[in-house]
Amino acid sequence: MEHHSYDDPAGNEMEAVTVAPGSAATTATTGTQTDTTRPQAPLAGIIFGETIYWMTILSGVIALLGITLAMLGRPSLMQPHATLDAILAGHSVTEIWQQLVGGMPDGHWYLSRLTTADGLMGLGLALGVFSVIPAAMSAAWILYRQGWWPFAILAAGAAAVTGVSVLGLIPLPMN
């Protein structure tokens, strides 16, 4: 057996016992905690996870609405049957857009076409992907308040780099 110490999220040092390599798991005893006590999930993690979770579910509902409207013949940027045919036929991205829309998309194209089925599906996809930014920012704030400032900086940095990508601040390498 090997004894070692660890800190809980609040920074209190605790003692733990680890069994020999190859064992199914480790057990631990501390002054206030035994091996049958579940460790508490950190608040920053919970807020981060819940923000993403609910925004993703909302994005799924929006995308489902878009799929339904597209297939029921409501106004669409790309006619659904022709879109699927072009994709199955192996047409390139440029060919698909030229053939079905008449030109390539301009950045966040779905935002100006929210009344179409494609616009809703695009919004659903984008909202889910975007959810990591508010989630990381919230987690950064909580980590900072709890004294885990190096991780708060990393979380804010992750949100900032993703934000740069969202805003398209780095131009695409196109001809």
Binding site: S76, L125, V166, I170
Partner: protein
């Protein structure tokens, strides 16, 4: 399954909405007169994509690899769909199960938020670089680049499969080694409740610099091929940084979500993410991701990886065959 649906009301609501929407589509969808494909085929593609995505998500979340590592190679190997469309959709498949599993994993304390944010920056930067490189290759090489992508991906998949075979389940609970100076400074230690043994497992994270560099490479490959990075995130966290397998698998999903979120935007603004094609895959990942995240807590993740090894080997053979055919014009019997 019934217990899961009762325990997670939002899951039952999503499933009910999806079933209702697909039933409506199946009953009322009509093709215009000049439609190039029948409505039955169009509806079949939409519902089929959703169902496959659901299955891939469950396997991907439990195996901690994300869905991209199954979706992208299989689609590149067995369909005629354009590689950019596949890779853009592959990132969506890779990330949405990870996105939605972040809730349950963080709630349970299975995913380690500090490990996630430490690894996030290199994987995000690498993934963005990979996405830009993919667009550059498509612009410069056109269809010839497709053969190169297939060949390279086939070789990478063999490497991934070998990594899984060599790894095995011997590191389910890696023993703490002497932590490096950076992990000591950052105090990267953790503990989680292990359902399958009914006890607390504690761990010490180490080799942070090496882990960070590897995540930069993993991010680039994931962003370039639309694989996500789950196939390598788990091994790096588990073998290199000594994070237990279950925490690695759970943190991997969340990391994938962060890394791929940055990589998806260049594909989206380029137009490679075709909404009608990607949306059913996304929906399958959301529902499958919630299911997988709840199942993971109760099973041994190592079992699922054996299924993945077989899929990876078979797909890699086909990809290499197609890559050789397209690049060099040499006929390959299994391609």
């Amino acid at each position: 399954m019934q217990t899961l649906i009762r325990r997670v009301p939002e899951l039952s609501l999503l499933i009910a909405l999806t079933v209702a929407a697909f039933a409506l589509i199946a009953m009322l969808a009509e093709a215009p007169e000049d439609a190039p494909i029948s409505t039955d085929l169009a509806v079949g593609i939409i519902i089929g994509s959703f169902v496959f995505s659901l299955l891939i998500a469950i396997v991907g979340v439990i195996g901690g690899v994300g869905g991209g590592v199954i979706f992208t190679p299989v689609m590149l190997a067995f369909t005629t769909v354009d590689t950019m469309v596949i890779r853009a959709t592959g990132l969506v498949v890779a990330m949405f199960s990870g996105l939605v599993s972040a809730g349950p994993f963080m709630r349970r304390g299975l995913a380690d938020i500090r490990v996630v944010f430490y690894c996030a920056i290199p994987i995000i930067v690498g993934a963005m670089g990979g996405a830009f490189a993919a667009i550059l290759l498509a612009e410069r090489m056109g269809p010839a680049g497709d053969g190169l992508v297939r060949l390279l991906l086939g070789l990478i998949l063999i490497g991934i499969a070998i990594l899984f075979v060599v790894g095995g389940a011997t590191r389910e609970y890696p023993q703490p080694t002497r932590p490096d100076a950076l992990s000591e400074r950052l105090n990267l230690k953790g503990a989680y409740w292990e359902e399958s043994v009914g006890g607390v497992v504690r761990y010490q994270v180490t080799r942070l610099v090496l882990g960070g560099l590897l995540f930069l490479v993993v991010g680039f490959i994931g962003g370039f091929f639309g694989l996500g990075g789950g196939w390598a995130v788990v091994p790096v966290l588990n073998f290199i940084m000594t994070v237990p397998l279950k925490v690695s698998a759970a943190s991997s999903g969340v990391l994938l979500a962060l890394g791929n979120a940055a990589a998806v935007w260049p594909y989206l603004t380029y137009g490679a993410l075709i909404a009608l094609f990607a949306a059913p895959w996304m929906l399958g990942q959301i529902i499958g991701g919630i299911m997988g995240a709840h199942i993971l807590a109760h099973i041994k993740a190592a079992l699922v990886r054996k299924i993945l090894i077989v899929i990876l080997f078979l797909t890699s053979i086909r990809l290499i065959g197609r890559g050789v055919e397209e690049l060099f014009g040499i006929p390959v019997p299994f391609a």
